[in-house]
Symmetry: C2
Subunit: 324 residues, 2 copies
């Protein structure tokens, strides 16, 4: 295939979340040429969702010629299984059980369709187009409502024997610690380092310290954004919320480093807007818990991708990155 042809080829990247679905046409330089979206939660039947998706996407495909011009469709979706193309027991999606999503998409669009979970897709996006370009060993941690992860070793995503590797948000950082609101596990990373976890920490700490600025907000306004606002205004309790979160995150990252010895750990998601308030304690506690040969080697980096496009880029990287 000539370079001229390659430059005209594109992929469809689709990011499916519990509430919204975003899609876009992406070229080999990582430019999002077109984008659009639809609600996920309006479709109780997966068939209806795929029909609606097709109605929205078909005009874009026609704009770029035919399905022939597409390298394929990449889909990032919770509990998406790379090996089988199925979605399995996804708690936050309307479609229950095991859904043969990849096959259904292929039949509808007449293109190959590769799926994986959203955090794995994000890691691929960073490797192709973002802060992980040129890296063969890195770990991507997404800090949003939950904590997701994608692990790249020897230049490949680790999928594990069943396609579900890289659920680092569910690893236990404090045995017997905070009970997870949904899984019931005690002391998982997600229970502390997600936006949800930070809100819980903030609510506990402001109750202990009535003088904290955090007490000026109503209960439902306490989130990582308002904690950040108070931290900027030098409220010591708000700063302590991020320090504590960073400690738990840093302790977890140290264990991850001793597993796969990555060149860098990439952080992505709403929580990283707290900047140094969370980055500094995270780095401190990661280093402190590392076996000496790993110290001062691993870079802690924020994602470089535009947050609005990152999910689409990551999904498209699933097929753009694997061209034969």
């Amino acid at each position: 295939m000539s370079l001229t042809n390659l430059s005209r080829r594109v992929a469809l990247g689709i990011d499916i979340g519990g509430t919204n679905t975003k899609f876009g046409v992406v070229n080999h330089r990582g430019e999002v040429l077109e984008k659009g979206g639809l609600r996920t939660d309006e479709y109780q039947k997966v068939e209806d969702f795929i029909d609606a998706l097709s109605d929205s996407v078909q005009p874009l495909i026609e704009k770029y010629g035919t399905a022939e011009n597409f390298d394929g469709i990449g889909v990032g979706i919770p509990n998406g299984n790379y090996y089988t193309g199925t979605i399995e027991q996804a708690a936050n999606l309307p479609w229950k059980g095991i859904v043969p999503f990849g096959e259904m998409m292929k039949a509808k669009f007449n293109m190959r369709c590769t799926i994986t979970n959203d955090a794995n897709a994000a890691a691929l996006g960073e490797m192709l187009f973002g802060a992980a370009r040129g890296m063969k060993d890195f770990i991507m941690i997404t800090l949003g409502t939950g904590v997701g992860s994608g692990i790249v070793a020897n230049g490949n995503l680790i999928y594990g024997h069943d396609g579900f590797a890289g659920e680092l948000g569910h690893t236990i950082v404090k045995p017997g610690g905070r009970k997870h609101w949904s899984t019931g596990s005690e002391g998982s990373l997600e229970a502390y380092a997600s936006a949800t976890g930070i809100a819980i920490t903030a609510k506990k700490m402001r109750a202990e310290f009535p003088s904290s600025m955090l007490n000026q907000y109503p209960e439902d306004a306490i989130n990582s954004k308002t904690v950040y606002e108070c931290a900027v205004k030098e409220d010591p309790i708000a700063i302590e919320v991020f320090r504590y979160t960073g400690q738990k995150l840093g302790e977890a990252l140290a264990n991850f480093v001793m597993f796969s010895s990555p060149e860098a750990i990439l952080l992505f998601g709403g929580v990283i807007k707290a900047g140094d308030f969370i980055l500094k304690p995270t780095k401190l506690h990661m280093e402190r818990n590392l076996f000496p040969i790993f110290r001062n080697k691993v870079r802690l980096v924020f994602s470089e991708l535009d947050e609005a496009d990152a999910a689409i880029l990551g999904a498209s990287a699933l097929v753009l990155g694997s061209m034969k």
Copy 2:
């Protein structure tokens, strides 16, 4: 290369420990055709060690023809770096700093020489000749004086960006927990699940329970073997020592599973002689701490390799497994 030729080809496997070095000639079926050994700790200079090794090994090489008949030399050695062929800052070896061991061996033996740490070599040995045959995703945990590990994903050992991936013995299972006698870290897996850690646990527990059979032994006779003897005689404290150890190990394994989702975890080393006393609580606490999609999927398996030959087989697998 014809199969006939292949069947005549062999490799030299060398396992270098702080005290002893073992070596052997291994064929492609994993048969140890010849073996021998020397003391490691008698040679303060690495050059003298390599000279002595050469004197012992040369007769074996001549027996199998010439260096031409050998696929190469594989070396398992603490802190051995697969990428650079160097030994780096190995606490238990007489040779300090960064030693260009692979280059020195190549110059001496006129064969390619591949090195890695002993636990990685053990994992390769299991993949080629042992309980992990046919597996593409598994984790090997060696439970001896220390706790080592080798991680295989997508059919390849994970070396990480610097060659030092897979130091799972140093991951923290109990933040702020037992201080490690050598590294100073608090609450590492090695501090609990190594033979050394088990002896510490046993000494603490027998002091609390004067009626325990463990109190019939002198202090320096308390080790995983004597604890096992008491457990077999149904001493509840000895049984509790293994239960507690298995709990810590199981909690750690759960985190490892959520990292790389292996098909199996292989356990190897002196500690596994405790059999079900340690295996059952390990399995229980692993499953209990797993995110549901991982439950009842991962096999916990004991190594199948003869312990006396395993290290040599593992080292030879470094070159037998990578024939081009």
